[in-house]
Subunit: 246 residues, 2 copies
């Protein structure tokens, strides 16, 4: 492995910055981890001790690397980073999916990954052009939750549709849509996919023909909801047993 | 008015960066606007034309200020900013409130303001120490929605409690909490307050005694949900007529 570079999309490895995301990486993707970087001031912190103990058990090298950490994270107070080889997952068919079409903000994507995992969704699809899944900013915003999820990035929406013909799609958009509570009535047992568009552009009109379009009832005093907020509301509504009509 | 400075909390004015937030400021707080800054490359954009037309109608001066805009926003592509005098609002009693206790991230606060407005909540309380409501980053993250809301910043939670003794509080926390769907059963007609803690620390234990603690059912695979996500789910559940037990 060459000297560590600041992250670039064409590297075959990336960084999970922070103690918590590093721990998630070691726990859930141990075979991908190449080494762990630790800041000299992290010693004695509870999270740092647990991280080092796990790395030792996994025979992963831990090295003190203050300057590499600030270079990688762009922050002064980054205590650790797991260096991991990129990997590819396949999604499980017949399970609840979240699909993000051309998302442009790494913070939004990371936050949505964290929400999906926390509310019990295990499979997430991204459609290009989109943010880099393994960009350390995405990893950090996800708090490392991407390491517990199956995530796959597709070049085109049609690739996803061909791979999962049985999924019932629920595109979140205004055209021809029904309110979220009505869409729940059409939710199949588990083979459903919540589809969210780009932050600025939303979904192309064609998506209205790919499934049951859904909207989150809101007033006209805001232009739209934040993408991670809309996804959170959609995921919450679709995963809560207590909601009506389920 | 002196030459425009980069934003500092102790200034008595601030900036609404971006065409959309500037428009919101002029539409909803016209009496606060001191002038509008426009980038030379904004001419001809639809939003810029509408902004200038409204400024003219309100007799607000518009000036080309490319360098001031990049200094103020820290971005190269900021097309406009409304310069506005800070102001104070009082909250309406007996209405749904959102209360943020010591929030530390301006992006989260802005996003929550936007969610609250979009889902029909008009009153938001912040408890210090917290992010600066008028920091341009908060204004930008809110997409200018703060100009349509009543927002008040309190020094202490007790100041809020004394001002609104009739509100029923729903603190989002784990201690002694009930799931969100059960909390809805206790929701009064309109005098309710959803309470969210700091991103890292959550709410102090005392809050469990101030109302009905609520939790969003989630699994133990994530440490917690993002603050703006948790607030979105709480606000959605409390404001949707279609939910059970309402």
């Amino acid at each position: 492995m060459p000297a560590l570079s600041p992250y670039k999309a064409d590297l075959d490895y990336s960084y999970a910055p922070g103690l918590f995301p590093s721990m998630e990486c070691l726990q859930h993707r141990p075979e991908q981890v190449r080494r762990v970087l630790l800041h000299s001031s992290a010693a004695g912190r509870e999270g740092a001790d647990r991280l080092c103990a796990l790395a030792e058990r996994l025979h992963v090298r831990v090295e003190e690397a203050d300057r590499a950490l600030s270079r990688i994270s762009g922050k002064e107070n980054c205590f650790a980073a797991a260096v991991f080889a990129k990997y590819e997952d396949a999604l499980l068919p017949g399970q609840p999916h979240v699909l993000l079409h051309e998302p442009g903000d790494s913070g939004n994507v990371g936050t949505i990954l964290r929400t999906a995992l926390g509310l019990g969704i295990g499979d997430v699809a991204l459609i290009r052009p989109c943010v880099d899944l393994f960009d350390p900013r995405t990893v950090r915003a996800s708090m490392g939750s991407l390491f517990q999820l199956r995530v796959h990035v597709y070049d085109r929406i049609d690739d996803y549709l061909e791979a999962f013909p049985e999924q019932r799609l629920f595109p979140f958009m205004l055209d021809a849509s029904v309110p979220l509570s009505r869409a729940l009535e059409q939710r199949p047992a588990s083979a459903w996919t919540l589809v969210f568009g780009n932050e600025g552009r939303g979904l192309p009109p064609r998506f209205a023909t790919l499934g049951q379009p859904v909207r989150i009832p809101s007033n006209d005093r805001v232009d739209s909801l934040n993408l991670a907020v809309a996804a959170a509301i959609g995921i919450y509504a679709f995963t809560q047993e207590g909601l009506p009509n389920l």
